[in-house]
């Protein structure tokens, strides 16, 4: 035993055991239970443990499920696109245009000092019927009636999520920009590139890993987000996670909830893989 512990493999196993145990108990086991549930059925409080495809049939035939799934992917896609596009210039500014990098990185993490829930609520206060934005516009005389398209729709969900996830996009892109050897940029200039060409042909391809990381970090959790759509989404901003929540709560149909969860995971996985392959291939085409 002592000999095993002293060997490199033994040390490695010993060191990773707590984490493996933790992940095993809290991720793998619940996931297995989830898979099991998806093949069971429930009548009132009774769980019927006979294996069946019934939940999957229901999920695939119900137009609401399909509709919410597509909407979730679309909203998460829009959030990802908006966040990454807005985050890139900020990351670029911090990496190349300022000496006070630490200060800027600190400023960017400030939203994290308050809770996620509070941040969603504050957007509600800003965008609401009698909210900050409407009051301000009315007192400035720009509008007569409060704007109603600000809150309780997809727009509000995208805006709120994009704000909440911005630092997660800025940081990986910043790191990949920071890593670029400055002499590569000078070499591109030396070989005749203008600033824009240099960005497209050198900077952008070299930051593809950072962009992919940012996209995945944002896309995967936002597809399954239910707090933001529940609070600012109204009826047209509801996402698949809200439906899953209902199955485990009011509808009291855990098996269907489990099935929907698994399908959501699978579709996110597929979209993510297609995305990574496509972007990597695109990055290679730039010469």
């Amino acid at each position: 035993m002592a000999g095993v512990l002293r060997s490199e493999t033994g040390k490695g196993l010993a060191l990773s055991a707590p984490a493996t145990l933790y992940v095993g108990l809290l991720v793998a086991v619940p996931l297995c239970i989830l898979v099991a549930y998806s093949f069971w059925t429930q009548t009132y409080v009774e769980i019927d443990r006979k294996l069946t495809w019934a939940n999957y049939q229901e999920a695939f035939t119900d137009p609401l499920v399909r509709h919410l799934m597509i909407r979730s992917v679309a909203i998460a896609g829009a959030v990802t696109l908006a966040t990454v596009c807005l985050a890139y210039p900020i990351a670029y500014f911090i990496a190349f245009r300022t000496q006070k990098k630490t200060l800027w990185l600190l400023l960017i993490t400030i939203p994290f000092w308050s809770s996620y829930l509070l941040r969603v609520f504050s957007w509600k206060l800003i965008l609401g019927f009698n909210g900050v934005l409407n009051s301000a516009l009315i007192s400035l005389g720009l509008i007569q009636e409060p704007l109603t398209f600000l809150l309780y729709n997809e727009f509000a969900v995208v805006l709120t999520l994009a704000h909440a996830w911005a630092p997660f996009a800025i940081l990986p892109i910043y790191v990949s920009l920071q890593k670029i050897d400055r002499s590569l940029l000078e070499a591109a200039t030396d070989l005749g590139c203008s600033k824009l060409e240099r960005f497209v042909r050198v900077t952008l391809p070299l930051t593809v890993p950072g962009i992919i990381a940012a996209c995945l970090i944002i896309f995967i959790p936002t597809v399954g987000d239910y707090v933001t759509p529940a609070l600012v989404g109204g009826s047209q901003g509801k996402m698949v996670a809200n439906l899953i929540q209902v199955q485990f709560g009011a509808a009291n149909n855990w098996p269907l909830g489990a099935t929907l969860s698994l399908l959501a995971m699978l579709s996110v996985g597929c979209v993510a893989i297609v995305f990574v392959v496509a972007v990597t291939a695109l990055g290679r085409r730039i010469r």
Partner: protein, 371 residues
């Protein structure tokens, strides 16, 4: 080398805050010349190169390349290309795309680019490696790719920033010869920055020696070696024994001097020295001194001393000899013809020198940091 001037630099000055990186730089380079800027790190040589390339602006002065003023011309529009110290090989591109990077900007067709790239790789002996990934290259190959990538643009001037400093000694020496051969074949003006005196001497037609932002002397390597303009230049190019001397009589061609330890002799006036003083500094190269146990015949001056250190270099042996009345010991280099070390520590020896080997270095300057 033609007589056409390719680069004319007049009164260029670059300051970083109150620090003067390059001061009053004046330099004219001929077409097809291999020119090196030599100096210790921080002397401003790289800044000077970056000013020529257009990566660094400058406060005063003017630069003309190929007859055109470069004042408003940005780096990407200048007829220069650069080999970077880190080589700056694009990691996301293969060798062929790296070398063809600049050509894609031109009006050349895909096939023409392919041909030019293949030709350039052939030239640096990397023929057929177009598809090799950047991270699969060795240090020497990266250096060659960087060279091919710059030369494929057919620049008027190729700028090289410490191009060989990352290579090991054997590879470096092979590349020195190869780059020199390439430069002579292509007839392109090369401007190289280096802190390695041997690299500068073996490769260059002319060398500019820089100290503290100032270009002290520009000359052919053999002139720099035999007639350095002052103590700084003399100490940076090869080894040198510095001795104090008194001028007792002088005319336009020669000086009667009394050299500390060695006594009275007549030496030639160094045309590169600007200010002569009665208190003169003279220098003797270690290999110009004769060392022997017996009193040698036929030398203009002799001195006796005691061997304080012996250093064996393989191709030569260096003896350090203490002479009464001299602050520093005198270094003597003896070629290792017979594979023997003739003197050892503590031996009493005679040093002989011909007056023609004693170099006039002008007035004695007190140099900060040097003994």
């Amino acid at each position: 080398m033609s007589e056409q001037n390719i680069i004319e630099i007049k009164g260029v000055e670059k300051r970083f805050g109150s620090f003067v990186a390059v001061s009053d730089l004046n330099l004219t380079l001929k077409e097809g010349e291999f020119f090196s800027l030599l100096g210790p790190s921080g002397c401003g040589k790289t800044t000077a190169l970056r000013i020529i390339a257009g990566f660094q602006d400058h406060e005063e002065g003017e630069i003309r390349i190929n007859g055109r003023t470069m004042g408003e011309v940005p780096a990407n529009k200048r007829p220069t290309n650069m080999v970077f110290q880190s080589y700056a090989i694009f990691p996301h591109l293969n060798v062929g795309d790296n070398v063809g990077f600049g050509l894609r900007k031109t009006k050349l067709s895909r096939n023409e680019i392919k041909e030019r790239v293949a030709e350039a790789l052939e030239m640096v002996e990397l023929g057929g490696l177009q598809d090799r990934k950047a991270n699969e290259l060795s240090g020497g190959q990266r250096q060659r790719v960087a060279l091919a990538r710059a030369l494929v643009m057919r620049p008027k001037v190729l700028l090289l920033d410490e191009p060989l400093s990352a290579l090991d000694k054997n590879l470096r020496e092979a590349m020195q010869l190869e780059m020199r051969r390439l430069q002579q074949k292509l007839g392109i003006t090369f401007v190289m920055v280096t802190h390695d005196q041997y690299e500068a001497m073996t490769m260059s037609d002319r060398i500019g020696v820089m100290f503290a932002g100032q270009l002290k002397q520009v000359d052919r390597p053999e002139v720099l070696y035999s007639q350095p303009c002052n103590r700084e230049v003399a100490s940076f190019i090869g080894g040198m024994n510095f001795l104090d001397a008194e001028v007792t009589a002088e005319n336009s061609e020669s000086l009667e001097v009394n050299v500390q330890g060695f006594g009275q002799m007549t030496i030639g006036v160094n045309p590169n020295v600007q200010v002569h003083d009665k208190e003169l500094l003279v220098g003797v190269r270690p290999e110009q001194l004769e060392i022997s146990a017996e009193k040698p015949d036929g030398y203009d001056a002799l001195v006796q001393g005691e061997v304080s250190d012996v250093a064996f270099y393989g191709e030569s042996v260096h003896y350090y000899v203490r002479v009464d009345g001299l602050k520093d010991s005198i270094a003597v280099a003896v070629p290792n013809y017979f594979h023997t070390v003739d003197h050892s520590r503590g031996d009493t020896v005679w040093l002989g020198v011909q007056s023609a080997s004693v170099i006039d270095l002008g007035k004695r300057e007190s140099l900060g940091g040097e003994k």
